[in-house]
Amino acid sequence: MSNPIEKVKKALLLTLPLIIFLTQTVAIATEATEIHTPDFPNYLDMLYDYKPGTQLNYTEYLQLLKEFFNSINEGRDLEDVMSDPNLSKLQSLMREGGDLDNARKLDALMNYSTLNLDELIQGIRDDELRSLIQEAALTGNVSNSLLNLINEMYSSGKISFDDYVRALYALRNISSDAESRKQIDSLLLRVLGNSLINSSLNVLGGSESLTQLTDQELMRDAVNSMLQFLSREPETNADFIKGLEDLLKSSQTSPSIPSLKLPSAGLALPPLTSLSIDLGTALPFIVLALALTISLVIFLKQDKISSALARLTPRGSRPFYGLGNIESRIIRTYWNSVELLRKKVQRSPSDTHREYYERVSRTLPEVDSVFRNITFAYEKVRWGALDEGALADEVDSNYVRLKDLVGKS
């Protein structure tokens, strides 16, 4: 166990490499903050403000919408339209765009087309509608009045979207009349088209989404296809037309999009990598700090610093490691002897003078006699408070002999 002064010394020496290392680390970190772009905080804000839909691939979405509505406008029949793989892709993009309601409607439109009549009728939840369809199934007759009634029920909100689609598909199965089937198909296509338009207004309608569109021409084409589809319908939804026209206007009035967030945020990305400390720069400092610490620990453990300091000073005025106030010649001579012998026989801080003497005696038998005299003289003076008297001269002469013996060995 070391005394408080030694503890402070050790602590200071061990702290030195740590300070060197930390200084370098702080310098690198300061430099990193200086090279940041001012927009970096905005980039972080945008990251935290992430909302579903901002990651949608608008180009693909608009392209699919355009192609799909063009194909409907060209007069494709219902079965072709429903089996179009683009419809499934559109549905996926609608989900990505956050419009789950219309995606689910599209799902119903595609799935119910594969069900048979019984499955369709049993799935209808509204009792009145179900009985109407069952009655039509018995008679095999699908009248215009029935279709009008069902349309009326849906538009008034009496029946759900699911029931409406099931009813239309059921009537399509029941009807043997080509005219009726055509009428039902056009109703189903209208429902499908309305769902897609509604969805596109939801996905594209937000100002955030609009600002991220890069291909304005594609958007105009898609909107025009949708408007063309609506123009063919006998009953058009005024809100849809207005919404689409607004989209068209916004794309014409802002031909370029200078305030796009993503690219500007992208400019702030490089400083992120600058934040991490370059291993190549830090490694030499880490190695240096480790080497300094290890060497200091080894030196301190072996008391080599004290020996080195003692060797640096002239012999006459040599200070003693921890012996500053000791006036006794014998005690000083003993520790000088220990210092002399330490080169050949290590002394641990927990060793007593007798333990050290025994080790020296075993290792260097030639110095046994003289070092024994010095050790026991030291013991009497140091622990027994014996007056040095004539003993000091004897110890001095023993020390001279010890130096000779150690020099020869």
């Binding site: 166990m1 801080p349 007593t352 013991e379 140091r382 622990w383 027994g384 408070a385």
Partner: protein
């Protein structure tokens, strides 16, 4: 006073028991008591008897059993029909050297009565206090491998023993010598004459108190005691009483060594017997084979001795 002669004479009778004899004598001079741990048949009784005989001290032996009563040790008033009155019959505790064999076989009540006598150096019988004659030392033995039918001494009572000695088997040569020379050993013991008397022992006890202890030795002792509480394997470290005992035993050891001053080696020599029964280890370390002796070795190897 030649304690070296006492040790030499004892070594003529006792084979390889120098360490035990030295510690028993040191404990006697430090006015402490000794707990001897060892298996049966390793000359614990002979050691105690030899020390008592060499110092010309009265010796008594008590074999502890579960049915032994406190009065069997301290004594009591017995009705004398001839005189028609109660007379005091003193127990075996009224002696100089009291050997308690297998102390952990006695009931806690009897142990407690004995330990009270050890601490107070006096006994109370029927309200009357009787001081015990000086010097007074209890040498209690216990078998470390007995676990059935015993009442282990609580930590607080273990703390009352100045030192604990772990008595072990002799070496092969020592064993051969015992077997070969047992008759001469017994004859030698019977023919043993005292080297000194009770008065000289009492004088030595006074001298031991005067042994010089440098202030740095006290610091060293304090560090050892405090470090014993910080050791990772230790649940309960050394108490202040342990520190007092350490210096007392070190002084006695220095005195036996014909010195009137304590050196760090004395503290180191006293550390194991004084601290080993006072340090309680954590169960997980005990299971892994660590014992208090190992902890004390760690302490002595890590605590710096006073300099310069």
């Amino acid at each position: 006073m030649s304690w070296a002669l006492v040790l030499k004479k004892a070594s003529e009778i006792l084979v390889e028991k120098d360490y035990e004899v030295r510690l028993i004598i040191a404990s006697l001079l430090a006015e402490g008591h000794v707990l001897i741990e060892g298996v049966p048949g390793i000359a614990k009784t002979l050691t105690a008897k030899t020390v008592a005989k060499l110092l010309n001290l009265d010796f008594k032996r008590v074999q502890m059993t579960p049915d032994l009563l406190p009065t069997d040790i301290v004594g009591g008033y017995v009705y004398d029909a001839r005189q028609g009155s109660f007379t005091l019959k003193k127990g075996p505790v009224f002696t100089n050297v009291l050997l308690i064999d297998e102390i952990n076989r006695g009931s806690p009540r009897t142990q407690s009565a004995l330990l009270e006598a050890m601490q107070e150096r006096q006994v109370s019988i029927e309200g009357q206090t009787f001081p015990l004659e000086k010097p007074f030392i209890v040498l209690a033995t216990q078998n470390p491998i007995e676990f059935e039918g015993v009442f282990p001494l609580p930590e607080a009572q273990l703390d009352r023993f100045l030192a604990r000695i772990e008595s072990t088997y002799t070496s092969t040569e020592g064993l051969k010598r015992i077997i070969k020379e047992i008759d001469q050993i017994e004859e030698g013991f019977n023919a043993l004459s005292p080297v000194m008397g009770r008065e000289e022992v009492l004088e030595s006890i006074k001298e031991v108190r005067k042994v010089r202890v440098d202030d740095s030795i006290y610091d060293y002792t304090v560090r050892l005691v405090e470090e014993s509480r910080k050791h990772p394997a230790v649940k309960l470290g050394a108490s202040p009483r342990a520190g007092i005992a350490l210096v007392r035993l070190a002084k006695a050891l220095a005195y036996i060594d014909s010195r009137n001053y304590v050196i760090p080696d004395d503290i180191k020599s006293a550390a194991k017997p004084v601290l080993s029964h006072r340090i309680i280890l954590k169960p997980e370390y005990e299971i892994s084979g660590i014992n208090s002796g190992k902890v004390i070795e760690d302490l002595l190897a890590s605590v710096e001795v006073p300099k310069p």
